[in-house]
């Protein structure tokens, strides 16, 4: 396998589009204005959680000056099949959740469209709804797989007997609430039909996937659809698959023959762009007196909608974390009258590791073993379930390095005894992990007549710095300076690429870019350096031929909290993370990813909760005044480090994804610190003062 000589890779190369972004010239989807007069479509959402749309009286809305059309099941064009039934807009009268799109109103101005949408009279036949997740829900079933393609359950040895016999056991139930992805840029699309084809400027995590979906829905060949998304203001998984807004825009543009803009309001996002399912998890651990694990059992109970099965892979990290001869992991789902959950930063690992790493802390206390030592004692040599070797695994190094930097050595394990003024202070640790995925992609590289290079790939830079990282990777592969390389991403007209998801982007696209660049150098060689030359690469065969290994990144998260003894207010005073993520392409943008992930983990620990309105069936606190994420004042000085990790069996860069692991384990570290501070174990997130004030 080729290892590129490292020159640009590993440096703090400035974000290539930084100047455009800070000067406001970087255009995001909604800011695009096609030549055609642009009009505005506004979604109309269901106000019942289950039932049927009987009729939509559009008359009142259409009399408003400036209103062009109102579309609903009764008059909408029929669409082709959709993989995701959430995208089959207005194809059925069924209402599967409160907030689902039942109509769209199109008008000359956004204000008019909104007012008309409000005036639209929708008549429903309402049925009783069922929106509360419980372990004993009668509809709880075993899905055939969990996301993206993992076995639903696994079992090794005899976990029940081992638990029975174990010297020390813990049997604990944790819960995490619905959590909502809220990228800074709401989902937005500008759609226009041109010469029988469709062009959309869209905010998404992968233009190739949006193109294929739209082509299917509108019965077009894929090359008749163009999806343009040069800049995207975050996604966190919510833009990983096309959402209803892009379909509404394309449909409205088709109906009106105009260019149509659609954007989600913050409130609409709480129903329409996916969210992390609430999860109830039971973790049972059985160990010897010294903490050596004999049994691990991890069961997850989750919700999905009646529209589509979405099976969060919550207990999958437990399959690779610790050695134990007897083990079982399971997932069960209840289809409820709720919006379909979807991808949210570190789906599976993030909630699953909250439960597992809290339980490990509880086991450490039960055994009287230091929590870091407990993890080291249970470090597996090979993947504990598949038996495969790890491509690399540096959990122990991360824990040790973190312990040294954080000042763990002097820690008194006794809970509830450290006072600083009116605050109880405590510290906690948790492990983190995330798979190192890689998906097939294509890329081209071109040697331009002026001596520069252009690399093209339909990758997505959703604010992560992907464009910058690929520039560095290409420069090294081309043995040139990054300033001479121009990377074009964010357009489905470019070579088809995988999406920005599963922390797979840099590994997947980077492989394709390296291969295209290598091919280009060969071409240049062959033609004596004569320009222009162009070469292409498709990594399907390479990715499929990869050797069988267990590929994961690991990390250690440390937290210090202060809990007000009078009010129970928890504030995090320190977060420190150490990660083993292969070669870090760009330390500056990588740090931002870790810090962002850890900040989001802090929010998960202390604040984030979608409150289900049981009576009406939607998430009640659907704006930022009510749904809290950390404010600047909540975020302490976060320290991020990584251990030197060489893993040349992953991809030509030797890199692992870094976009998600930062959120994994943070909540457990905080919860463990809260216990250390107060002696109170909070197993239901978020940890709010309600539970700590007395």
């Amino acid at each position: 396998m080729t290892v590129t000589p490292t020159r640009a890779v590993g440096t703090d190369f400035d974000r290539v589009e930084a100047a455009e972004k800070v000067t406001g010239t970087a255009r995001y989807a909604y800011e695009h204005a096609p030549d055609r007069d642009t009009v505005y479509a506004v979604p109309v959402q269901s106000v019942i959680a289950r039932g049927e749309v009987v009729n939509v009286d559009t008359d009142g809305a259409l009399t408003l000056p400036g209103v062009i059309a109102a579309v609903w099941h009764g008059n909408a064009p029929r669409l082709g099949p959709a993989d995701d039934p959430e995208l089959a807009l207005f194809q059925s009268r069924r209402v599967a959740y409160r907030g689902q799109l039942v109509a769209g109103v199109i008008a000359e101005t956004l204000e008019t469209a909104r007012e008309a949408a409000r005036r639209l009279r929708v008549e429903y036949a309402q049925e009783p709804h069922d929106v509360v997740l419980r372990v004993d829900h009668p509809k709880m079933y075993k899905p055939s797989k969990v996301n993206p393609a993992y076995p639903t359950d696994t079992e090794y040895g005899d976990p029940d007997a081992a638990l029975e016999k174990a010297a020390v056991t813990v049997d604990l139930t944790y819960s995490t609430p619905a959590e909502h992805n809220n990228p800074m840029e709401p989902h937005a699309t500008v759609a226009v039909w041109e010469n029988d084809g469709l062009v959309v400027y869209d905010s998404n995590q992968g233009s190739s996937a949006v193109r294929d979906t739209l082509a299917g829905l509108f019965g077009l060949p894929p090359d008749a659809v163009r999806v343009i998304a040069p800049h995207v203001g975050g996604g966190f998984g919510s833009k990983g698959t096309p959402r209803p807004g892009v379909v509404l825009a394309a449909l409205a543009a088709k109906v009106t023959g105009r260019a149509v803009k659609v954007t989600m309001t913050r409130q609409q996002m709480f129903a329409l762009v996916g969210y992390r399912t609430p999860i109830i998890q039971r973790v049972r651990l059985g160990a010897d007196e010294d903490g050596t694990l004999r049994a691990i059992v991890h069961d997850a109970f989750e919700q999905t909608s009646t529209v589509q099965e979405f099976a969060e892979q919550t207990t999958t990290p437990t399959r690779i974390m610790y050695a134990a001869p007897n083990r079982r992991t399971t997932h069960r789902l209840a289809p409820l009258d709720v919006p379909t959950p979807s991808w949210m930063r570190a789906p599976g690992e993030c909630p699953g590791m909250f439960a597992l790493e809290s339980a490990m802390d509880e086991l450490a206390i039960a055994c009287g073993v230091d929590p870091i030592e407990l993890r080291i004692r249970n470090e597996p040599e090979t993947d504990p379930e598949s038996g495969l070797p790890f491509s690399s695994r540096n959990l122990v190094a991360c824990l040790r390095e973190g312990a040294a930097r954080f000042g763990w050595a002097d820690r008194d394990p006794a809970p509830g005894v450290r006072r600083e003024g009116r605050r109880l202070v405590g510290t906690g640790v948790a492990a983190a992990t995330y798979p190192a995925y890689r998906l097939p992609s294509r890329a081209t590289a071109r040697a331009e007549p002026d001596g520069g290079f252009t690399v093209r790939i339909a990758a997505a830079d959703i604010g992560t710095g992907a464009r910058t990282a690929l520039t560095q990777i290409a420069a090294d592969a081309l043995r040139t300076a990054p300033e001479r390389v121009r990377v074009e991403v964010g357009d489905s007209a470019l070579p088809t690429a995988s999406l920005a998801g599963g922390s797979s982007g840099t590994a997947s696209w980077g492989t394709a870019v390296v291969r295209a660049c290598e091919a280009l150098l060969r071409e240049l060689d062959r033609y004596g350096g004569r320009r222009p030359q162009e070469a292409a690469a498709d990594t399907t065969a390479e990715v499929e031929a990869a050797e069988r290994l267990s590929r994961h990144a690991f990390g250690a998260q440390f937290a210090e909290v202060g809990v007000d003894v009078d009010t129970g207010e928890v504030r995090v005073s320190r977060l420190l993370g150490v990660f083993g993520v292969g070669r870090v392409i760009n330390p500056k943008t990588a740090r931002s990813q870790f810090i962002g992930g850890m900040t989001m983990g802090l929010g998960m620990a202390l604040m984030e909760e979608g409150v289900m309105d049981v009576e009406f069936g939607d998430y009640l606190n659907h704006d930022f005044a009510q749904y809290h994420i950390p404010a600047c004042a909540d975020v302490p000085d976060i320290e991020v480090h990584w251990v030197d990790e060489v893993d040349d069996r992953l991809n030509p860069m030797g890199s692992k994804g870094i976009g998600e692991i930062g959120i994994v384990g943070t909540a457990a570290a905080v919860a463990n610190a809260v216990h250390h501070a107060t002696g109170v174990r909070v197993r239901d997130l978020p940890i709010r003062l309600d539970r700590l004030v007395g």
Binding site: T567, A625, A631
Partner: protein, 327 residues
């Protein structure tokens, strides 16, 4: 949102006339609450009369030390005013504990006093709410009410008043100056607000045409020994879960006088007169402070999910007073 007419008032009388004539006209201050409610469809005025540029935009100190605060003074400016910071630190602290710098730069004193509840149902026109739509019901009672009232609420409405500033002003015996249909009048701030009873529609006793022109705060000899403490779910930019405004006058270990008000526990800024009564003449000890808290919070009737506010309010009061003794 529904189309509306915007006009800027030049002086108080014409502003009042502009609103008095039209049932669907409203005053506009900084717009940080009203414009949000218009976007949500909760407020649908056909005419906005902007009173933020009226000449009530200064803070003055009277010879007796009383403060005269114009209704159009921005929250940030009031918080930064030297006289406020010196004589009434709790008022400056309450202002700075509210919202964010950007919101405070826009928000006016008049608008702050009349901001509406943050009850989630009130803000969602697809759901019933007695305050927004009388007689439609109060889903918060059985639904989400974690951060709603424990005291002073009614069967019809359990909402809280969200203002921080108003809690400090309630403790300080502030007086609200009004220009109404029949000319000017004044009202103690604690009488401005009304409990919901069986008509939660109105938060205050004001007529829609009543224009707040000024707020006066009488001098308080021990105002310098005062504090506003706000408990919230994150470190900034969050409404209170419980707050307390307190001023304390202690001599020889005995409480000579005090002012106490709670926020976020009631439909109104809650002046804690029973606690004050219990404290006057009592020893300045934690036990006496706890007894005073009990005297006030004994009337609390928490809902299913907000009983934690009772010990929280008690602890907060005891701690705030204790720190004022030491200060």
């Amino acid at each position: 949102m529904r189309p509306f007419v915007y006009e800027r008032a030049e002086e108080a009388r014409s502003a009042v006339a502009a609103v008095a004539d039209r049932p669907d006209a409203m005053y506009l201050g900084g717009g940080t609450n009203l414009v949000d409610l218009m976007r949500l469809g909760v407020a649908e005025p056909a005419r906005l009369v902007d009173v933020s540029r009226l000449p009530y935009d200064t803070v003055g100190v009277r010879p007796d030390g009383a403060l005269r605060i114009g209704a159009a003074v921005r929250n940030s400016d009031l918080a930064a005013h030297p006289a406020v910071r010196r004589a009434h630190p709790l008022l400056a602290q309450a202002l700075l504990a509210g919202a964010s710098g950007q919101v405070r730069n826009m928000a006016t004193v008049g608008g702050n006093l009349l901001q509406r509840t943050r009850c989630a149902y009130f803000q969602d026109i697809t759901k019933p709410c007695n305050k927004r739509n009388p007689g439609s019901g109060c889903p918060a009672r059985e639904g989400d009410h974690r951060n709603l009232a424990i005291i002073g609420h009614s069967e019809a409405c359990v909402a809280t008043h969200p203002s921080d500033m108003a809690v400090a002003l309630a403790a300080l015996d502030a007086v609200v100056h009004l220009e109404g249909r029949d000319g000017p009048r004044t009202l103690p701030l604690t009488e401005l607000y009304r409990l919901p009873g069986d008509d939660p529609r109105r938060d205050t006793v004001l007529d829609p045409a009543d224009l707040i022109t000024e707020v006066t705060v009488p001098a308080l000899s021990f105002g310098g020994r005062s504090h506003y403490r706000k408990v919230r779910d994150r470190a900034s930019f969050a409404f209170a879960v419980v707050s307390v405004a307190a001023a304390l006058d202690v001599a020889g270990g005995v409480v000579r006088d005090c002012r106490i008000a709670f926020g976020a526990i009631a439909p109104v800024p809650w002046r804690a007169r029973r606690a004050e009564e219990a404290l006057r003449g009592a020893p300045a000890t934690e036990d006496a402070f706890a007894a005073a808290a009990r005297a006030e919070l004994g009337q609390a009737r928490p809902l299913r999910d907000n009983a934690f506010k009772v010990p929280l309010a008690r602890n907060l009061l005891v701690r705030t007073l204790t720190e004022l003794v030491v200060a």
